[in-house]
Subunit: 225 residues, 2 copies
DNA sequence: GTCTATACTTGGATAGAC
DNA sequence: GTCTATCCAAGTATAGAC
């Protein structure tokens, strides 16, 4: 077999890659957060899902909370990279809304956002967890802001709306819709919302025409102030 | 003193009113949910805050979860009644946004919405809790829907936007903003959002003029479809 | 690196005295 | 109704064998 003595000796964390168990624990922690929430994400529950011993949680991560943060890191990195490729071709608000709707459905199915919700809620229960979670949520807001700015390039809306505030609203809506949808299992209202958002994006775009193509619409209606 | 023998005999739960301890436990449960989240809301923590024995939680409510649901009921009834009086004079979207901004600041200061967030998040951890919480969140959505409908009476927007979807969005935004604000303690972005919402409400109102006064604006722009 | 075993703590819940 | 005392289950974390 290819697994000679020297090869197996190199295979420790940090050189070739993380150990299988470490990875399994992170995945199991993610799944446990999705299914059982923060209060249900104990070392025993996670290790049981990972098919290994409970003590390994502390060997690999030092504490349960550290493992949960590692899981949050993994989900964050995974999704943000995915979002980045998804919005790479977007250059209008209505396109952005369409992409966001598709991504939101993905996240809802896979339960990625419920990991964020669980960790944010859990931050209230565990001393010192708040700032750690906040640091890991910030990139989501930053990404949303960037996406909004890119989609609004050359639009009169870009001067009317501070992109940072819109980004906060988008992430807040994302988290809130996840909570409500998760609560009663009915995703219809959430999906309907994206439909309306799409119509509104088209409406706003029509108020000055396709500015990116004819280049005539520089200013919006005065009422927008 | 007015507290004669017969009067004190009537003073048991359900006739004159709930016992002091019962009320104290509900209040303490609310405070504990705000401060420690769902995972930190144990019988001991709550009883400690209420200044009574831990066993009384089970005597009065049967289980910790039942007490938490009673606390959610109390917060819900309290706030929804308050909201009702706050929006009683509203008859335009921009007025509604103004009232909502004021209410949101109140809720943020008092931490009422964090009780909802904690219970929704906790519903993932406790079997059977989900539907109970969902039943208690539904009135919030229903109230929001009603408020939106009232504010849009005679506006062309009322036919363009299904009020139920807007209500879900408003509640989701409410929950999400609470989470994000609670996380890093900075309420500035949330408050800025209400400012922008106000401008947009005014913008939409201006698109057909004050329809409730001249009665001419029945239809909106075709782009609204 | 992984397992077993164990110490320690906290939490839900009940029994019984007052 | 309230308290003390207690049982039992579950959780975190560590020690030590393999």
């Amino acid at each position: 077999m290819a697994k000679s003595g020297t090869v197996s000796k190199i295979r420790h964390q940090g050189v070739v890659g993380p150990s299988d168990t470490r990875r399994a624990l992170i995945d199991a922690a993610t799944e446990t957060l999705k299914a059982e929430g923060f209060a249900g994400a104990s070392a025993r529950a996670i290790a049981g899902r990972a098919g290994c011993n409970q003590g390994l949680v502390f060997y690999h991560f030092g504490s349960v909370v550290n493992l949960l943060l590692a899981a949050l890191d993994a989900v964050s990195a995974d999704r943000l990279e995915h979002y980045g490729t998804a919005v790479s071709g977007v250059d209008s608000p209505s396109e952005l809304v369409e992409v966001a709707a598709a991504i939101f459905q993905e996240d809802l199915d896979a339960g990625y956002v419920s990991v964020l919700v669980a960790m944010i809620a859990g931050a209230s229960s565990t001393p010192g967890l708040g700032p750690e979670v906040a640091d890991r949520i910030a990139p989501w807001i930053q990404f949303a802001q960037q996406a909004v700015e890119v989609s609004l390039v050359d639009s009169w809306l870009s001067s009317a709306i501070p992109s940072q505030d819109v980004a906060v609203a988008v992430v807040a809506l994302y988290l809130g819709l996840e909570m409500l949808t998760h609560l009663d299992g009915d995703r219809a209202p959430a999906l309907a919302l994206f439909e309306h958002a799409n119509r509104f994006a088209a409406l706003f775009a029509s108020m000055t025409g396709p500015t990116t193509k004819d280049g005539s619409g520089e200013t919006g209606p005065e009422e927008a102030r």
